[in-house]
Subunit: 174 residues, 2 copies
DNA sequence: CCTGAAAAATTATTCGC
DNA sequence: GCGAATAATTTTTCAGG
């Protein structure tokens, strides 16, 4: 009870902001995260050997990293190539209403589109940039016409097609 | 031996292109992938219950999906917030040399920068768009100055700072 | 191609030190 | 934090439909 309260206290600083937790991670934690980030199914025994500790503390550290929310989950990574989903397009969306309520509506609607892999609101015009993954150009056109253009408060869109994936997804720690 | 040959044959069509495999996935495979994509550590027994089969065929299907390269691995997902890495910037890079050798050099160098989470070559000017994750604006400036501006054959760059992550990363199937 | 249960292997947890 | 013993899970195997 007392411990939990302590953890809560360090998570929010005096300004009420969520503080960084990474500066409390030592070298071993970093190694554990680096390994788990590359192979989520590595046995604790092997991980312990790699980081130079025994199983007990490594298992405890992993549990702790999960409990503080630093590890949010474990996921299988699929091959876009084998799925036939290699067509990547970045779409810039400009809004015709940039009031908070309109943005909230837009955000919620975007999150319901599975083809939108990422979406960020970009400074300097209150526009959005989203990454759309599709089967091919025809598939993208359909997604743009049916799902993106029809999002609430969308002004116009500008699409930028990828010719090559140089870095597909990088899970390494900064 | 004969089976393997057969598998090989369906992976490349008469044009030599890698063919899609997703249209050979039945509903059960899709369910398995959907689950594993959300929780890589789900026990086979529980997965079997969810998809309505016994453990044996589910374990075989998972192994098969791994062997054909559709599942490329399992990874722990970390919280950017807890890592103190919430600052996302998209950088457009235009090249002053767009010949193939220069592009190859650039690609290789980009892949060595851990802060570059994604990087795509974009049609319509042979430019690149990359997503950079940093601690804050000061951190980003350093990365831009020291790591991105100094990449081989870079002309100029244009940075677009994210104000809000609407969709951070979407692993759902298309 | 799937079922269901038994067997084997691996993995996680719990101790005293 | 260590290392061994214990306990729990999971994967594999196999006969049968």
């Amino acid at each position: 009870m007392r411990l939990k309260m302590c953890i809560h206290m360090v998570e929010r600083n005096i300004f009420g902001a969520v503080s960084r937790m990474d500066d409390r991670l030592d070298g071993v934690d970093r190694k554990i995260l680096a390994e788990l980030t590359q192979n989520a199914r590595i046995p604790v025994a092997e991980l312990a050997r790699k980081v130079g500790l025994s199983k007990t503390p490594v298992a405890l550290r992993i549990r702790h990293l999960e409990e503080i929310g630093l590890i949010t989950g474990y996921r299988a990574i699929l091959s876009p190539l084998k799925l036939g989903l290699t067509h990547v397009t970045y779409v810039e969306v400009s809004m015709n209403d940039t009031r908070e309520a309109a943005l909230q509506q837009f955000n919620a609607a975007v999150r319901a589109i599975p083809e939108v892999e990422e979406c960020y609101m970009i400074a300097g015009g209150c526009d959005y940039l989203m990454k759309v993954r599709s089967r091919d150009m025809a598939d993208f056109r359909r997604i743009l016409a049916e799902k993106i253009s029809t999002l609430p408060h969308v002004g116009n869109t500008s699409s930028h097609v990828s010719m090559e994936a140089v870095v597909e997804q990088n899970f390494r720690l900064g």
